[in-house]
Subunit: 304 residues, 2 copies
Amino acid sequence: MIHVFGHKVPDTDAVCSAIGYAHLLRELGKDAKAFRLGELNAETKLVLERFGVETPELLENAAGKDVWLMDHNEFGQSADGIEDANIIGVIDHHKIKFSYDKPITYIALPWGSSSTIVAKLYEIYGVEIPKHIAGCLLSAILSDTVIFKSPTTTETDREIAAKLAAIAGVDDMTAWGIEMFKAKSKIGEKSARDIVLNDYKVYEFGGRKILINQVEVIDDSEVLARKDEIIAEMQKIKEEQGLFAVLTMVTDIMKEGTTLLVVADDVAPIEKAFGKEIKDNAVWLPGVMSRKKQIVPPLEQVMA
Amino acid sequence: MIHVFGHKVPDTDAVCSAIGYAHLLRELGKDAKAFRLGELNAETKLVLERFGVETPELLENAAGKDVWLMDHNEFGQSADGIEDANIIGVIDHHKIKFSYDKPITYIALPWGSSSTIVAKLYEIYGVEIPKHIAGCLLSAILSDTVIFKSPTTTETDREIAAKLAAIAGVDDMTAWGIEMFKAKSKIGEKSARDIVLNDYKVYEFGGRKILINQVEVIDDSEVLARKDEIIAEMQKIKEEQGLFAVLTMVTDIMKEGTTLLVVADDVAPIEKAFGKEIKDNAVWLPGVMSRKKQIVPPLEQVMA
């Protein structure tokens, strides 16, 4: 059986692109099933509930299995045992750091979500998208493009989302997007540690490790009111993991910008990367919505 | 302008996939042009002549240019200055060893040729393939799949080749394929050095460098009659480049097998990889047609 899964610390795109692509593979006559590599966040749970889709099974280890990697390609973000899996293919929209010793299928497009690519593949194969799958894929597009506000959004994402919304019976994409983000950003109920590790990745730039976390909210005041508590937790995680820096992006999708919270051995490279002074562990970056496109590249350039 | 090019030491697939894809990009409204990274072989020259296509311009350096990599992805096989180019995308059917610091388009499929993928993209975009482009793409498929005899051949290659043959007015694909291979294997006119460096790649397995060359012929007797001269040249190249081994695959496409000529510091791992004894620097490998699929993987497995 073919195991289809997105990255660890799964978000809606990782989960829904896997559900959507596993269904397509089955329609094409393959024995395929979607899996997840961790706990679902509140947003993804809401999406699966609304469209009546079962939570994918947890995959503990990929060794010896036939697998498709969705929404990621770096082994560090993939399943345990991925080094010993038989990779059939990759579908992704992130930067590429991939090596494999035989020819496989690799489909990457610089679009707003991996679910956009999956929807396009249904079109190419001429397979009809059922209502529940359309709902999942649409929700993943809305999530990854921050309701089309992220600079990663392309014309293709908009076109495909409109088609999916029609199939899924979502009349108001923005209203549904805001409902999703509200579910994700129920900050009041979260511990400071859960906020700092909400949606994080660890990068290494020039030998220095940086954890970059993102919290997307409809109104940033609730999180920023807890700033001292969050900074203390970031400091703790930085020491625990021996990191150069811990960053938390508090992205306000209504204001269309990010408050970057910073704890670092040296803030100079971070200030240089964004051309702004960091005051009291924080800096406001207007227009910044995307970790991948607006935070990682300038940091990498300065620190590599 | 977008520069579209295949790998160094270009073969028909490298050149024709670039010609075909640059044309598609232009049809899609982009300013794109095909380039080559070296001298064309006699087979490719014949193909371009038959279908009335101009020889692409030589690209000396890719630094600072917008580029598409065709039929390769490893920087070592790519243009000089590739590290400083702006890569827009990759279309390929080889194993992957690729890293790039921003999201791009990467389309790889485990099909018999990159030109098959290019023809498929015309279909997906709904762009008509003109006669001369169809002829080039068809010829590249025939070349890379050894007229559908290589184990790398897929059903998709056969289907697409049939459609291209109809557009290009090629009534007998096999006859045209043999004519192409005859042009490529005019061994009588070649020096021993040109034979040994006919179509080669240098690999590194567990720190040991191996040059693997391939000569595809309709009748292997002409090359094998010059074996001593060729072995002496292989020995010379091995010393010049400080290699662990130099291999020459003399692939007879009619007999459907390869005589592997071997010069090595130690033949044991090579014998182990193929489960056969090497006598007088040579071993017959029935059914072996593909360096990528049948020579590289077993060597890598034994030596890594």
